[in-house]
Symmetry: C2
Subunit: 291 residues, 2 copies
């Protein structure tokens, strides 16, 4: 049986067909333009694939309440043309298959929890650090939605004393996590893109400091059993040991658990599924929709 997956991003839409063994068989990418152009293109790509269901992991904010008349709509986004736009309904209706939607990061968290770095645990936090910062969350064996869905990237952080741009760059909150540590913040602060900065650049100690604050606050807020960091910025692998060390320093022995005191290399980790977390999660959503 075949399933369709969509990773809806602000820059591109990644479409896949996968099977019941959680294998991704075929993939395509379409630039994210106006909904009136991009949504029909995606429908058209899926139409001849014979999929039994569709799973969508999307950028947000998105309405995830199945009882809401706007379930599966993008609600409010800086992405031009996409505010208050139905995403799931037109695709589900045109393709005539059941469909489920979640945030892109919840999809990735679901996949990492069922098949990846958090397999066998009851909770995990998946964070992507890239153009934005978003997080998906599994707690007590359930994907977390709540009132809306987590928006961890907009958590407020303490300004680091050696930050040359401590006010931050988020258009809504200035110095929230995303405004201080997402890719565009790195670029605006240092005048270069992250991948242009050498590993020894002071940008990275600062980046690690903010991401460690995030890890500490996550540990304090909901005590995840694993923290998984993905996304473009985390391709700077040298960040991992710095974030781990700094998180330990910040927690300062308060949380008495060997996962943090002794096993932090295995607590703050890379995605077990590499770059396939999101698509695999969308596939798991599609399989769930088919049941």
């Amino acid at each position: 049986m075949l399933f369709g997956t969509l990773e809806a991003g602000g820059t591109k839409m990644v479409l896949s067909v996968g099977n019941e063994h959680n294998e991704l068989l075929e993939q395509a990418s379409i630039p994210t333009e106006a909904p009136g152009k991009t949504i029909p293109e995606m429908i058209s790509w899926f139409r001849e694939k014979g999929i039994a269901a569709l799973g969508i992991g999307t950028f947000g904010p998105v309405d995830l309440n199945p009882a809401s008349p706007t379930y599966g709509w993008i609600t409010r986004t800086p992405k031009p043309g996409w505010t208050d736009t139905p995403l799931l309904p037109p695709m589900r209706d045109a393709l005539g298959v059941p469909a489920l939607i979640d945030t892109d990061v919840n999809a990735a968290a679901l996949a990492e929890w069922q098949l990846g770095a958090a397999k066998g645990l009851k909770s995990c936090l998946y964070v992507t650090v890239g153009t934005g910062i978003g997080a998906g969350l599994v707690i007590e064996g359930r994907l977390v939605h709540g009132l809306v869905h987590p928006e961890l990237g907009h958590m407020l952080l303490r300004q680091e004393p050696d930050d040359p741009a401590p006010d931050g760059f988020c258009p809504y909150h200035r110095g929230c996590l995303e405004g201080l540590a997402a890719g565009p913040a790195i670029e605006k602060r240092w005048g270069k893109k992250g991948y242009e900065l050498p590993a020894g650049h002071k940008a990275w100690e600062l980046e690690a400091a903010y991401l460690a604050q995030m890890c500490m606050n996550a540990v304090c807020a909901f005590s995840p059993e694993k923290i998984i960091l993905g996304g473009g910025v985390m391709q700077q692998k040298h960040l991992f040991p710095r974030i781990r060390k700094r998180t330990q320093e910040l927690l300062n022995g308060y949380i008495q658990h060997r996962a943090i005191l002794e096993g932090i290399d295995d607590y703050i980790v890379e995605p077990g599924l590499g770059t396939r977390s999101g698509a695999t999660g969308a596939l798991l959503l599609a399989r769930q929709a088919a049941r």
Copy 2:
């Protein structure tokens, strides 16, 4: 059928007997001294009550993993004599009844969710602001434990620019939420206890600012459907409208949900069970232990 409840606090132990209608029938309070003195006193109080099970809501950190050999032990605490001390095991064994333990704040969250301000919802955050700041959390219909349990009071916050003591007073983390906004921080910063400061004192705008940061970060971290604020400091009822307004200002329209945009008076609220949340939660734990 009768059940025993214990609210274990750093200052006093509150013992109750309740029934299957969630009514608390009889209560006693014992000062928290050395475990070797206080635990036998509590056992002695319960011994003739004919309880069928015991529920404990305790200060922490506490080991809540039922599979752990130290389940029901206080692990590490500034409270002298209580570090690495079994609390549940000696009481359960001496009384010969099944027993369950959770944090005091998880017990309160459980009660508020099943019977109080969050009844009928799938998630809520219960925060107590007093000598310390602690939080209990229900998400997707489950009490959250995770790696350890939430320690929301130790989340790092942004220093408010008009704070005369922005470094904070937490012995572990200095300027975490507890170090900036718990009762002792108010007293150290202003030289008076909170209840001695008039409602017009600038202490309260600052207090509301930090608690609003906490609310914002909770909304961003796990999107609770209700935030319930209890504890001694929240007896200053004038804090509620200030915290609500400031939370809205901080979120700045980013979270598009009418609970926050229009219904915040019903989103950040007082405990529905007044000061009985903790004991009622311990009673619910005892009833669960009996099943």
